[in-house]
């Protein structure tokens, strides 16, 4: 582990300017991922700018009804927030499906968005990995990949994004607020993560030197009837093999509004827009749900050992939307 400097920022402008003092500086949130990666040598920052004491730990309702979540809100506080639980229950469920109580007490919203893949090759510095060392290769393509991507991967990287929270945020059209030396800016979550392409080491569209200051969820009545379900290899404390955030509004057996996002299938939380399009205005039946899932998963390219994710996601879509429909009917 490399020796590193540590500084604590007290306001956003100071944090951004401190980061600019060292090209190898990184922001430190809860440290639940970054510190682990520093211990194993995957990350080697020269300077940590601790942003946990920035005044970004509030969750507020804006005048237009949007929910504004500060970047340093902990996962525990996010999941416990009454507004989140009432208006975006899938988000609270997603956060609670991740990690452990201790980790959720430390982990922050901003850090959660920027957490790195749990691909075993990425985490082992003795192995090649295009994400860690560009151009070194991707052993997962032909090696162990039973929990890797089925959608939108490239021959350069087949890793998945590990976040549960991000899946719910993707379903609800979250917008990421950032602050750079030029001032504040906004970036829709749908544009936040970059396609893998031939640059898997470039994961986000964050401008250089930018600090995530918060996430905004637009008002969305459909989100009040939403759920998150995570399928994983043990009942707790494991990353997803497949997960789904879904919100559904049905009237007279017809889908009025629907949101769908998948986790553990791609390098980013996967908003299932094709499935949403297929469903909207159509019947709320298991057959229609399955057809919508198929429409989304038509683009899936399973590897040798992760083909099960296609029926897994399909089954989750059908099961989840059926449950929400039944709930709606009551």
């Amino acid at each position: 582990m490399r020796e590193f400097g540590y500084m604590r920022a007290t306001d956003v402008t100071e944090a951004v300017s401190l980061l600019a003092t060292d090209p190898e500086a990184r922001f430190l949130g809860g440290g639940t991922n970054l510190v682990d990666l520093m211990k194993t040598g995957v990350e080697n920052p020269a300077l940590l700018i601790d942003v946990r004491e920035l005044p970004l730990d509030r969750i507020e309702v804006a005048d237009d009804g949007a929910l504004k979540i500060g970047a340093t809100v902990t996962n525990s506080d996010l999941a416990a927030d009454p507004e989140v639980r009432r208006r975006y229950p899938a988000l609270a469920q997603a956060v609670l499906a991740g990690a452990s109580g201790q980790l959720r007490n430390m982990a922050t919203v901003g850090g959660n968005l920027l957490q790195r893949t749990r691909c075993g090759y990425f985490g082992d510095t003795t192995q090649p990995c295009n994400k860690r060392v560009p151009g070194s290769g991707c052993p997962a393509l032909t090696g162990e990949h039973h929990n890797h991507a089925i959608l939108d991967w490239s021959e350069h990287c087949v890793a998945t994004h590990p976040s549960d929270m991000g899946v719910a945020l993707a379903a609800f059209d979250a917008v990421v607020s950032v602050h750079t030396a030029d001032g504040p800016a906004e970036l829709p979550l749908s544009e936040f993560y970059l396609p893998v392409g031939d640059t898997p080491h470039r994961e986000t569209a964050l401008p250089p030197g930018a600090l995530i200051t918060g996430v905004t969820l637009p008002a969305a009545p459909v989100a009040a009837r939403s759920r998150y379900r995570k399928v994983r290899e043990r009942a707790s404390y494991a990353f997803a093999n497949g997960s789904i955030a879904a919100a559904l509004d049905v009237e007279d057996g017809t889908v009025r509004d629907v949101r769908l996002a998948f986790g553990a299938v791609a390098s980013r939380p996967w908003r299932a827009r094709k499935a949403e399009q297929a469903l909207t205005g159509g019947p709320a039946t298991p057959e229609a749900f399955a057809a919508a899932a198929d429409a989304e998963l038509a683009a899936a390219r399973p590897l040798t050992h992760n083909g099960y994710k296609v029926p897994l996601i399909r089954n989750l879509v059908v099961a989840m939307l059926t449950e929400l429909t039944q709930e709606d009917a009551r």
Binding site: M1, R118, G120, D124, P139, E144, R234, P286, A319
Partner: protein, 748 residues
Amino acid sequence: MTAPTVSAPSTPMAVPSVSAATAAAGTTTSPAPTRTAGSSGAVGTSRTRLEGRAKVTGAARYAGEVPFAELAYGWLATSTVARGRIRSIGAEPVLAMPGVLAVLHHENAPRLKPGVGMMGPDATLQILQDDRVPHVGWPVALVVAETPEQARAAAEALVVTYDEEPHDVGFSSGHPGLHTPDGGPRARTDTEKGDIEAELAASAVVVDEEYTTPEEYHTAMEPHAAVARWEDGRLEVIDSNQGSHAVAQDLAKLFFLDATSVRVRSEHVGGAFGSKGLMRPHLIVAAMAATMLDRPVRVVLTRRQLFSMVGFRPATAQRIRLGAEPGGRLRALDHDATSFSSTINEYVEQSAQPSRVVYAADALRTRTRVVRLDVPTPSFMRAPGWAPGSFAIESAMDELAEKTGLDPITLRLRNEPEVGPASGLPFSSRNLIPCFEEGARRFGWTDRDPRPGTRRDGRWLLGTGMAAAAHSAGTAPSSASITAEADGTFTVRIAAADIGTGARTALTQIAADALETPLKTVRVKIADSDFGPAFLAGGSMGTASWAWAVTEAAAALREKLALVDQIPGEGTTARADTTELVMAMRGQERYAFGAQFAEVAVDVASGEVRVRRMLGTFAVGRVVNPLTARSQLIGGMIMGLSMALHEEGIRDTASGGLVNGDLAGYHVASNADVPVIEAGWVDDPDTYNPTGIKGLGEIGIVGVAAAIANAVWHATGIRHRSLPIRLDRVLTAGTAIENSIGGGAVTY
């Protein structure tokens, strides 16, 4: 052999017992077993661990925590290639780093004596002796520095280059390198009785399947750690191990020292499961560095290093062939077990063992084959052989029950042997049938509908399964001393190990009864090689072996005390060594038995399997401390659940290393996976070892994976013959149940 009588204490117990029922939420215990005739008092009553308070308050020091002045810290650098030779070690720049005191490697490390090993020559002890690299994660250098941070930074900066050679880490039952190992005098690898092929051909019902289990790792909570230092001409060691005396013996031999010049202590051990049974590299390099630097040196392994340096259970592939009459009686039982070892040691996973013990068959054959791969050396892990072997044979028996239309317990009752099926020797005691009966009653087995897929709870298909369990219950020579102190108390000294099991407490109970004295007047000192030879905490033999030695010492002391009027200031001491008594024990088959039951819920649309409840009933001889006994059994059952559903070391064929060699990637059952568990026992009087103790550290894991796999079949109609029963496998296999909700890959 004349069995010594167990002393009958006359002093009533003054220390209140802890109610077993209050000890762990969600569990219950069978009624207390009857005690061996003539004894009463401490043995058989529940006691909390004597060192419990010290452990939960942090006062108990583990090997990595004991403070020393002038302590230096060693950090291991390990190989990144699976096979080859070290070309160069860039020690010079590392020696210039802050605080670095030394870099030990094969060109400058002290020479070790070859051929040393507890169970025969052990090449894993020959650390830093040559340029050979036998696997990924082999120790290639030790960096010693003033602080652990400096040592780690330097070890990570050390550049080692290799001449790499092609490697092979791919195991299967079809590997051309499989061969019959030389099991040595300790281990039969093959047995044969009757004409297996003829009996199979004549059988009305045949099961012929292969079962596989993956690499499994001990993952004890406490990483291996040691401090070595020279003091007054002796090599003094604080280590984390399962048997300080044996480790001290090997350490002395390895360093060409007189046996009396080495002392090893291991007062508290945070779990082991077999991984601390043998001397491990951390101790060897700590002793090397302490010798070279003439100051105390501590070496603690990292979690990742544990995945390549302290053994593991090798993957197995086992073919079982059963031939039976229509009524279920076995004509043929053929168990062909394969596994792998490293290129430097031939460890043999004896997975065919259960098939030599549990069922009668006209023809019985067991075979064991091993292939040598470029992997770390496997080692014994909780119930070696028995755990993976029971998955195969107990799954196959369930398949036979299905094919014959018999209840799985009925099938087993029809194949209950009179004598050891492979050996023909009598059993010292065999109370498997009471385990079935009591377990079935408590679990509610008799109401079971044998048809698969008949029960459902929402999206979950429900099923129940059972399996038999057996584990050897041996006794090994040990020695102990007891001193009657002038103040009326007693001090017991025995090089036993308490690896978290409660051994210290159990031995205190044994000694109190043997001395006919209140528990509080007895102090038991353990885990110090100076106390003389004692068997290690392993093979489910520790308590049985130590208790006999303590009982003998107590008897000797009582004889001595009968002859003295007053105890002198230094006390009166008696010693006992059971070597001759143990060597005189011959000609019986001695096992603990058990019956495992499990209920599972399976969602075939997601592949998720959840265990809803488990119940184990065991015949484990005399139970010394019901509280800790139940903890051991429940712990074993949880480890069995973890083996059934979660644990799997995934080896990368390209690099030869593990892809998931840490606790984030290597999944052990979490609390949320563990349901209500009942563990209890039946009366099992057995005085073959006069203490009546059989040992119960391992029997708890045996059979659990099969019981769960059989329950998954009962829920879904699909057999899962490869562990772990991972959700992708369940999802892909789906269900054989017609009109099932969420039928796996083809839903709706």
